[in-house]
Symmetry: C2
Subunit: 144 residues, 2 copies
């Protein structure tokens, strides 16, 4: 996959990208979250080369993001807890893409609250005491 490995990095962002920072992995996770599970479904949805898909699926399984569960002759690829926890990352990318990669209001896909079919709100970062935080309100600290 990647030439230089970041899985020893101190930064959790770097380590996260080491697992899912390539061109395809997050799209596979997106499709898995939508319900796809078969090799052919992913391949058709993503239009990617089959050998690359094989490599990515193996990588995601090795990373503990997908489980390969035997089903008949072949495997179903289903998200683990770790994989499902990428939901927030996907939502963040989605919301950024909606507002910055489409003309105003032109994004044809919406993420809705299932209960009342309304668009969801923007992801929010809050302090322990509940205040909303922006980038400037935060800082990085190295532990000990």
């Amino acid at each position: 996959m990647r030439r230089t490995s970041l899985n020893e990095a101190d930064c959790p962002i770097a380590r996260a990208l080491d697992a899912v920072g390539d061109w395809w992995s997050l799209l596979i996770v997106r499709d898995a979250m939508f319900g796809l599970r078969r090799f052919g479904e992913f391949q058709k949805s993503l239009g990617m080369a089959k050998n690359i898909l094989t490599a990515r699926l193996r990588g995601l399984v090795a990373a503990g993001i997908l489980d390969a569960v035997p089903n008949g002759a072949h495997n179903d690829y289903v998200l683990t807890r770790k994989g499902r926890d990428l939901f927030t990352v996907l939502v963040a990318l989605r919301q950024w893409g909606e507002t910055h990669q489409f003309p105003e209001g032109a994004c044809p896909v919406e993420l809705l609250d299932r209960e009342n079919r309304q668009p969801v709100g923007a992801l929010e970062l809050r302090a322990a005491d509940g205040r909303r935080l922006s980038a400037d309100d935060t800082m990085i600290r190295l532990r000990n």
Copy 2:
């Protein structure tokens, strides 16, 4: 950069990844958000090849994520609004990396609320009416 282009995709996640889905871009943005702005600072921080850094900086400028502002003989690379809005994406990756790519509590870097120096809370997704939402509470819809 990428062999197959996703900038025509309907999915905002795909479009987002088309801009920042490669190995280095989000790490550059992370560093820029931390305050780095000079070519040499990025190169030293990331340890990446200079020609690749050149290509990535150009790509990020072309995508409107960084501005190249002349400073003396050379450029400073500073985040645009669009680039700063990637903060949420970075926080999502950070939180996922903290919990899943390190042993429990072993992540050496913390994101703090600047005001009271406490760790920030987890990113939250909420419905219009304020309910907290998980993946299962949401659905995708194609507009019209």
